[in-house]
């Protein structure tokens, strides 16, 4: 008998101090899906970077804005939906660029793209806000 795994929903506010807890909850959620330890480590790195981008760039200095992370399985992929209510993000910001040591910005996007198999913004139901979808095929 197989047991359906529930979608995980993690809610947090746009404060960097929240990231430690969020990483722990992402790790716990991924452990349900029997991913390898390395795979979980990489997922935590990538999703943490996406959360950082929302805190730093989408919300800027707004400290108590809500962020929701949904995690669920879709076929062989583990799917992450990162939802915010900030101004729509520049869709080009997901394009990975070669590391430039004189300007290390963009490192987070590179890490996300290294780990995930697909990264894209979905159409958002609200006037304001973004839904970033990240998909990772798991073994």
């Amino acid at each position: 008998m197989t047991t359906a795994l529930a979608q995980t929903e993690i809610r947090f506010t746009s404060r960097s101090a929240q990231l430690h807890r969020v990483r722990g909850e992402i790790r716990s959620a991924c452990e349900q899906y029997r991913c390898s330890r390395e795979c979980i480590d990489h997922i935590v790195i990538a999703v943490n970077e996406a959360c950082m981008n929302v805190i730093e760039h989408a919300y800027g200095k707004e400290c108590d804005a809500e962020i929701v992370l949904k995690i669920f399985k879709d076929g062989t992929a583990l799917v992450f939906h990162l939802i915010d209510h900030a101004r729509p993000s520049d869709r080009d910001c997901l394009r990975p660029q070669a590391i430039d040591l004189s300007r290390p910005g963009g490192l987070g996007v590179l890490l996300i793209n290294e780990v995930m198999d697909d990264v894209r913004f979905l159409a958002c139901a609200h006037a304001d806000g973004n839904v970033l979808e990240m998909r990772k095929t798991i073994e």
């Binding site: 960097s16 990231l19 480590d41 990489h42 790195i45 970077e49 950082m52 730093e56 590391i99 290390p104």
Partner: protein
Amino acid sequence: MDYKIRTEGQYTVIALRGDVDLHHSPKAREQILKYLGEQCHVMVDLADVAYIDSSGIASLIEGFQLAKQHKLQFGLVGVSEPAMQVLKLARLDRVLPIHQTISGMAPVSIR
């Protein structure tokens, strides 16, 4: 995250411990830039780093670049597995100077 400063030979060693993430990396950056500003050769000890994100890595890159400008030595030592994972994903393990120990390093030439 917390940190300790020690001297080993010609190096000022900044030993970071815990999570070097968006919340804490400004402290790490401040220490790195402070000692390089004092013209010290700096090694950042990452042996007890449980997690490092791109903001922490950016602080290391900034230190590396500043050290080059001032003709100072800068490197990483005792890199923990979680920190090495991030460096490898970003392919910076081939760019930043990484040492297992300080004692095995060549002495710094006097300018």
